[in-house]
Point group: C2
Chain length 347, copies 2
């Protein structure tokens, strides 16, 4: 009936590992108009329907420009952060630990099982954005929904300091935490650049002969800063947050790297040796530009026999799941993450 179809099917089925094609043809995909999916909440539909982030392909080009950009985003975020804090009823106290700026975020009540536990939250923002209060949404979400005490690390960023300053500051806070809290009672949580940093922290802890934390929650990690990963292509112009591997976020990561090799596992942790990692939960969305960056870390951990859990949310672009506590899927995601941490951290 369809002899050509049968031939292709047979080739796909059997011959692939034997008769290698000489050239690997790309997939040419025509222009398309993707409707907003109907199988997510109305709140999430609003995010999906938003246009591509304005200015995604015109990032700042000078240190001063980046500083102003970060500051303007911070200033715009502050009222929302305060409103979220109000809704979630968490206490936020700024502080300094061994020279590193932090916030201690505490929920109204901490369940008995969590009283000896501590989370370190490492914020996202392409290693350049979300200083100060802008760092707090994830810390507040996991504190309120999970009932955890959280230390949010407001690490130094360019142009104040370059690679590996973000990692160094996060490790300083971890080392300080270890003096008071057993490693197995400490969890790392972060999203995007923060999702990469929590993996980098575990790699660095191994290098420095520090104990592993009890669990890690890595949200859509920038695990590969070399632009490798299929969803950089398949979800380009589909993800309305990061938009493209040639957008503002990669420009920001390059600004942070400051000439450092992007293949270094301390900036592209997917290339690191993850033997001995603790239980890890990874979160992403089907429209996420970093879908591949996330699933590759998950498979790497699973192939090492590590208890790694992958959660993929329908229709979500990069890091939607941490956006706003009034979105049902955001509460769902942090309930899932909180449950994972609660079941793996030592009491």
């Amino acid at each position: 009936m369809h002899p050509k179809a049968i031939l292709i099917a047979a080739v796909l089925l059997a011959a692939a590992p034997v008769a290698f094609a000489q050239t690997l043809a790309p997939r040419d995909v025509p222009a398309r108009s993707l409707p907003v999916p109907t199988d997510v909440s109305p709140q999430l539909q609003q995010l999906i329907a938003a246009p591509l982030r304005t200015g995604w392909n015109t990032p700042p080009t000078t240190p001063e420009g980046w500083k102003q950009y970060a500051e303007s985003i911070r200033a715009a975020a502050v009222p929302n952060v305060h409103a979220m804090q109000e809704r979630l009823q968490v206490k936020v106290e700024p502080g300094v630990i061994d020279g590193v700026r932090i916030y201690t975020v505490t929920p109204k009540t901490i369940p008995a099982a969590n009283r000896g536990r501590l989370l370190l939250q490492i914020h996202g923002g392409c290693y350049v954005l979300n200083p100060a209060e802008a760092a707090l949404p994830e810390a507040m979400l996991i504190a309120a929904i999970g009932g955890f005490k959280v230390i949010a690390v407001d690490y130094r960023m360019p142009p104040e300091a370059y690679f590996p300053a973000a990692l160094d500051d996060s490790m300083t806070v971890y080392k300080a935490a270890l003096k008071k809290t057993e490693a197995k009672r400490i969890g790392f949580i972060g999203t995007s650049a923060g999702g990469a940093l929590v993996l980098e922290m575990a790699l660095k802890a191994k290098q420095d002969h520090l104990p592993m934390p009890g669990a890690i929650a890595s949200g859509t990690p920038m695990s590969d800063a070399t632009k490798t990963g299929d969803s950089f292509q398949t979800n380009a112009m589909v993800d309305n947050v990061l938009v493209s591997p040639d957008g503002f976020c990669d420009a920001a990561a390059a600004f942070y790297a400051n000439g450092h090799d992007m293949h270094d596992p301390l900036i592209s942790p997917v290339y690191g040796d993850m033997h001995g990692f603790p239980p890890t939960i990874l979160t992403t969305g089907t429209r996420d530009l970093l879908l591949s960056n996330t699933v590759r870390v998950h498979r790497k951990l699973r192939n090492l026999g590590i208890d790694a859990s992958l959660q993929v949310y329908e229709g979500q672009s990069h890091a939607y799941f941490g956006r706003d506590d009034r979105i049902p899927e955001v509460r769902e995601a942090y309930t899932e993450i909180a449950g994972f941490l609660a079941s793996h951290l030592k009491k």
Copy 2:
């Protein structure tokens, strides 16, 4: 610096649940050329580089046409199935259980822990394709890689019989198996239509007051036959196997449904009540047209507190992970599935 960007960011962050847009704009994505990803095995790269399935949008239109199509695909598959059987060294014995055609697939050795266990494998093929030996690759893979005894169900298909014949035949074999083997020692495994059927079987078992199996492995399930699910759009023309929600597979499912309501959970199991489901592992790929169908089932199970594990493979279109035992990622996927079944089925 980027006042419009800041405005959009602020709107995305805070206003979504408050100020609802009146119309939900689709995302217009330009034509693109997606290179073959470099972070998968050379064998998998060959599959990814293959063109769209020929004839994907010209399915048969008559019962006789479908019969011929299914037969031609079966005939083309047989030599590959035999070669795979040879490589995997599994024994394949045809038989009949209470009137239903089956194959018993046995590995060379069965580990002691698996001797009291049994898997029922329900093949894929859009409810119309892959009769007889064409049904066997998944059964052989899990038998050989997992060390399980497997009964592969060669259920009736249209035009021989229509909905719910596939489900009825699968349930007949399950009921027969229950006479000899405790439910908690039985696992269900299936991919695509088979991935849906194993979920439908669990729903039907509840309806019929039969015990739940001990575990389920559902590969990229056709869990929603109503064409709902974001990846039907985002991965259209990207997935080179199913290609489009308006392709041969949906035509085949409609042929099977024979006018039955596609929202019935026994043909679109994502709409079913999954309370009480056993531990379930779900498998898909980042380019899979059914990525959303898979993650939606996963989230549904997780929100019910069920031990559900999601595995998403880089760059894979629909059901690549069951394609050929010589592809490293195929062995990886069945090793993962086998480990899940081994850790959840009662010994």
